[in-house]
């Protein structure tokens, strides 16, 4: 986990695949974001506090606690925090989630892996600007 205290386009990234969370962290930091990356949702959850981040970038399929559940818990702490989900799974696997749960949660962006770093940056920026 790499800690950032400055409050400027700060991103909390949670992905149980360490290689991916590390790569995304480097790529996003290259583009001016401040990123805290975790590979264990429970560790991220215990670290999280209201107003710490502008955006959550969450993997969906993770052991013990999936990204959706994680986000619900996060929202209880910080209602305004924005989110982008990111998944390597087939899209229809999450069709119901996307249709039913995403609107309730106010989720607008689902990023599919694999994605180029520059495209990831574009999506993240768009979400933060909205």
């Amino acid at each position: 986990m790499i800690n950032n205290q400055k409050k400027n386009n700060r991103i909390l990234l949670v992905d149980n695949e360490i290689d991916i969370s590390s790569a995304f962290k480097i790529g996003l930091e290259d583009n001016g974001f401040e990123v805290d990356a975790f590979d264990k949702p429970d560790a991220a959850l215990s670290y999280f506090n209201q107003g710490m981040y502008d955006l959550l970038l969450l993997d969906i399929k993770m052991p013990k606690m999936n990204g959706i559940e994680f986000y619900k818990r996060m929202k209880e702490i910080d209602e305004k925090v924005k989110v982008c989900f990111i998944t390597a799974s087939e899209i229809h696997y999450f069709e119901e989630i996307a249709k039913e749960i995403f609107p309730i949660l106010g989720v607008r962006r689902l990023i599919r892996k694999p994605i180029k770093i520059q495209d990831l940056v574009k999506t993240v920026k768009a979400e933060l600007l909205d």
Partner: protein, 600 residues
């Protein structure tokens, strides 16, 4: 019953008291008295060339055992009269019926026949009931108290018509006797059109069950109606108290599901013989008719047709019913039940299979995209971060290997399923291979600073030679897969992995030599998830967030292709699991040679 009717006639004449109705067309009389009855019968027989006769199930015994009847039988046979006879052949009178077949041209059977009459070309005779005391004494005199005689053409014609109706409905005595001797008792089939009678019979049939009840309910409403009728309660009691096997096929919805849940919930341990198979209402593959089918003890069936399924009351909802004790009919309903039951099971399996396929696509896509993402991202970042070059190349390599493993697994499964998994067999010492693999793993564990310790148990066996003829690459793949799993599920909290190898003789113990080698890999990890256990070696069985669920399926296919077996169980101390496989050993001669050579 021809003969005792004839005797009745003789009795009638003897008594002198009779009713008399003479018309220009003929005479109809009710006569009493045994002597005259006999004379009349003799006259009846003497004037007749063709005689058709019916008798109840007591008649054959009397005809054979009472002397006066026997005499008449001989006379009939001698005079070559053509006699057709119908009776109710039962297991009690079958031996007499067989004897009667020697005297009559043809005998047929009707279940429960109660008619006693005879017709010749121009005359008709009908007896009343027999006096039981005379029947027991096997005496003819006094046996029949009265008889009806007629030679009125219309009456004779009517009776001929009745006889022909019986005759056409009857089955040959030979067939009936064969069925009885083989224990086959074809029952009867009846159509019941009175709903209240159907309801009564339905309840009585359910309550009469001794061994098994099969019930097909075609609609949700049928379930609800039958429940209101108390049928479900009766079935439950039968299963609980008398261990009657109750099997029900029914469509379900939330209401029915809750009711089923309540049936099971009360006394679950005593409900082992009670099963309800749900039919999915939305399923296009499974169609049930609108007929409720009940089969009791595979001896009786009741098929109830509905006229209005919307009605709440059983009587209002049903039309007619077919009740049968006929073995072929009842077994047809059993067959319908079993076919539907199997169809439901197959449909369920198909659904599971489809679900597994979808699940596999999800898993495979996740497993393909994840390392691809890592390769793509690090390749992109590599140029910007030359200082992290080595670290990033390692990550790319690691993920490329992961992709390679997945590709190989998918290709292996394709080969297994298309039966093109070819083995390159060679002879080698399994212990040598095992030692090399374990050495590599130990190095890897040390390098990764893993909290798992790997042990070789039973050093003597490790020193032995276990020659196998096998595909070295595939056996390496198998052992590596099992070791990877053991380490993966032990790594979290840390623990030990033990590998043992031992020779096994044949179960009958007729040989001093080992026939196979068994390798066991025991870990102290998380153990096998109970949900996965029943399908552990099938495709796509995984609870892991990383893994395709193909590894153990491939392992099983590899080992079985070598004539070996693979199995797994959770350890008795609740810590971890043990996976083991067996492989047939090469010829024992060589084993012995190897053992001597290697022994210190």
């Amino acid at each position: 019953m021809l003969l005792y009717l004839i005797i009745q006639y003789q009795l009638l004449i003897h008594t002198l008291t009779f009713s008399y109705d003479k018309t220009s067309a003929g005479t109809t009389m009710v006569l009493h008295g045994s002597e005259n009855v006999m004379n009349t019968i003799i006259q009846f027989l003497s004037k007749s060339n063709m005689i058709d006769s019916c008798g109840d199930n007591k008649a054959p015994k009397l005809v054979i055992e009472i002397e006066d009847f026997r005499k008449l039988l001989f006379d009939l046979k001698k005079s070559h009269r053509k006699v057709r006879y119908i009776t109710d052949i039962t297991k009690d009178n079958v031996k007499y019926c067989k004897q009667l077949m020697n005297y009559f041209d043809e005998i047929r059977h009707i279940d429960g026949l109660r008619a006693n009459f005879s017709i010749s070309e121009k005359e008709y005779l009908a007896s009343g009931s027999l006096l039981q005391e005379e029947v027991q004494r096997q005496q003819f005199r006094g046996l029949v108290q009265q008889i009806i005689y007629s030679n009125v053409k219309d009456i004779v014609e009517q009776q001929k018509y009745i006889f022909e109706s019986f005759w056409n409905k009857a089955i040959p005595a030979e067939q009936r006797i064969k069925d009885l001797e083989q224990g086959i008792v074809p029952g009867s089939t009846a159509v019941i059109q009175i709903p209240s009678k159907i309801q009564e019979l339905f309840i009585d049939l359910v309550k009469s069950a001794k061994v098994e009840v099969l019930l097909i309910l075609p609609t949700i409403n049928a379930f609800l109606r039958e429940e209101r009728l108390g049928v479900m309660q009766s079935l439950k009691e039968l299963a609980e108290a008398m261990n009657v096997k109750v099997r029900i096929l029914t469509p379900i919805n939330d209401i029915i599901e809750e009711k089923i849940h309540n049936i099971y919930a009360v006394n679950q341990e005593n409900m082992a013989s009670f099963s309800i198979q749900p039919i999915e209402i939305t399923s296009k593959e499974i169609r049930v008719s609108t007929v409720t089918i009940l089969v009791v003890d595979r001896e009786k069936s009741l098929a109830i047709e509905k006229t209005d399924d919307s009605k709440q009351d059983f009587i209002d909802a049903i039309g007619l019913a077919t009740y049968s004790t006929s073995t072929p009919t009842v077994l047809s309903y059993v067959s319908i039940f079993e076919s539907l039951s199997n169809q439901i099971k197959l449909y369920e399996q198909l659904k599971i299979h489809d679900k597994m396929q979808v699940e596999f696509i999800n898993i495979a896509s996740h497993e393909l995209r994840t390392p691809t993402q890592a390769v793509l991202a690090y390749s992109e970042l590599l140029q910007k971060h030359p200082e992290k070059r080595e670290e990033m190349i390692k990550a790319i390599h690691r993920n490329a290997e992961r992709l390679q493993r997945l590709t190989n697994d998918i290709l292996d499964v394709t080969k297994i399923e298309s039966k093109t998994l070819n083995l390159q067999k060679e002879e080698f010492n399994l212990n040598d291979l095992l030692s090399n693999i374990l050495e590599d793993y130990k190095n890897e564990i040390e390098k990764n600073k893993s909290n798992v310790r790997l042990f070789l148990k039973d050093f003597i066996n490790i020193k032995r030679s276990f020659l196998v003829k096998a595909d070295r690459r595939r056996i390496t793949q198998l052992i590596s897969n099992l070791l990877n799993n053991a380490i993966k599920f032990t790594e979290g909290k840390g623990g030990d992995v033990y590998v043992t190898v031992e020779g096994k003789r044949e179960a009958d113990g007729d040989s001093d030599n080992d026939k196979e080698v068994v390798v066991s890999i025991k870990d102290t990890g998380t153990g096998i998830d109970p949900e996965i256990y029943p399908r552990l070696f099938t495709k796509f069985a995984t609870k892991s967030e990383t893994g395709t669920g193909l590894g153990l399926f491939i392992c099983k296919s590899i080992i079985e292709a070598h004539g070996g077996k693979i199995w797994a169980q959770n350890n008795k101390d609740d810590k971890g699991a043990t996976f083991a496989f067996s492989l047939p050993l090469s010829s024992n001669k060589e084993q012995r040679f190897q053992i001597r050579r290697l022994a210190p």
